[in-house]
Symmetry: C2
Subunit: 280 residues, 2 copies
């Protein structure tokens, strides 16, 4: 007997994966959490029926949400991750030797526990002494901080339930205040194919708050439509003006300086979406 | 009642789409052909159970298989498409005013007929007077030509059945001979995630035959893993040295000069796959 799991990525499309076993399932105070072992992508964390990360393709998302800003900032020392309880972003951040402290603000402790137990290759860095795990509301945490972080990463779930506020103008404004004077914000902002209006809105907020704002893309196999967007707001540094020669290379599977630059080359329909002039 | 179609993209994963109706289904001499109307992606051509093209995302593949070489060659006049019976590549090629003739060598007439009938937005250019439709074996056609084409596009199905020969060294060598002295070959070469050995082999052949060879990528939502590769072999011109200012822009949804350049920025694991030094 073959067991299959289908994520309904939209009302009208799904990703179907053959499942070796259901390793874990619980209803947390915030969401339904499951860990499946799939043949194609290895172990997979599913929250409220949506694939968050898999062992086999997680590096694309985790490298791309982190290293772009980590290289854009010349000396990132203190950073925060809002969401990201699986630990993948934290693992990538800690590859940079300048990092002194990573605050992980995850609302759902069960996500951290499941990642520790079932996804060790992703959560491996959570025990690093530079990591402060703060279980609680990331929005509330950010609102108590001033001039505290060089980079804030919003590594959120889809904009439903507890995550809705993570895409709001208020939150981006609070991040602006929590950042140092040359700080950077990066937020995952979903797929340009199926979440166009979210990107338009979220990136629009960021553009209205930060002097430098850029949208960039990566291709994540297990996310709806594969094409995934990240919105970056920066007080000073431009991600298109990075001096890679001045920086130590970190070991990566997907990211490199060429991929960094290429990620900002937007297809015409994405440029149209955010109101940039198309390079036709 | 909801009707769903699931393409088994590999033995262990599938793309599931809600279906409005099955518009057409036949067994041709070469394959099983179906046209489905899906809610997410509009009408969709399926050959032997594999999605070939959909109305809503076809532009990514068709723009990226064609315009990269069409801009790399300074004056493309005569080109051939092997496969590509849906007409999408032909439609893009004809946007370039220098084009005098497009030979479409499609082995299965039923694909052309189904595209004409059910996918008019894709097949619209097939009646253009510059198009010669040759129903038959593309390999045999190419082998009869010398110094005939400025560009040959191999717009094939997956490497099974009749399409196996389209990924062989012999065929790429025959294309080399069918090309003019400054000609270019572009072949679709599948996903680096699930067809790594095919890319290694096919791109290796092309590299051994052409003085300039480059792999490039695009993100196609309905293809397995989303990340899709194209292998380019060129006798003279380098796709990284294109003078876009000297050329007229063509209307596109995905492609533009920045996307052209960015498509050649390969993730480290793809560089490793084709034996290029990773830019770490």
């Amino acid at each position: 007997m073959d067991l299959w799991y289908t994520e309904k990525q939209t009302e009208n499309m799904g990703l179907s994966l053959k499942v070796k076993s259901l390793l874990h399932r619980e209803t947390t105070p915030y969401q339904e959490l499951a860990v499946l072992d799939t043949v194609q992508y290895g172990r997979m964390l599913v929250l409220d029926g949506m694939v968050q990360t898999t062992e086999k393709d997680e590096y694309v998302y985790h490298e791309m949400i982190t290293h772009v800003a980590l290289y854009t900032h010349p000396n990132p020392r203190r950073v925060a991750v809002v969401g990201g309880g699986d630990g993948g972003a934290v693992r990538e951040i800690l590859k940079h030797p300048s990092i002194e402290k990573v605050v992980l603000a995850e609302i759902d402790e069960a996500v951290i526990e499941a990642a520790r137990r079932y996804l060790p290759s992703i959560s491996s860095a959570l025990d690093d002494p530079r990591v402060d795990i703060m279980v609680g509301d990331g929005i509330a945490h950010i609102k108590t901080r001033r001039d505290a972080y060089d980079i804030v990463f919003v590594d959120s779930t889809e904009p439903v339930g507890a995550a809705v506020g993570l895409f709001s103008r208020d939150f981006y404004q609070a991040i602006h205040e929590a950042l140092t004077e040359d700080g950077i914000l990066v937020a995952q902002t979903e797929s340009p194919y199926v979440n166009a209006s979210l990107i338009e809105k979220s990136f629009g907020h960021i553009r209205s708050i930060f002097p430098v704002s850029r949208l960039y893309l990566a291709c994540v196999p297990t996310y709806p439509t594969g094409l995934w967007s990240f919105s970056l707001g920066s007080k000073k540094y431009d991600p298109l003006q990075v001096d890679f020669k001045a920086r130590q290379a970190v070991p990566t599977v997907y990211y490199n300086p060429d991929v960094h630059r290429a990620a900002f080359a937007l297809p015409n329909f994405v440029r149209d979406l955010i109101g940039e002039e198309a390079a036709r």
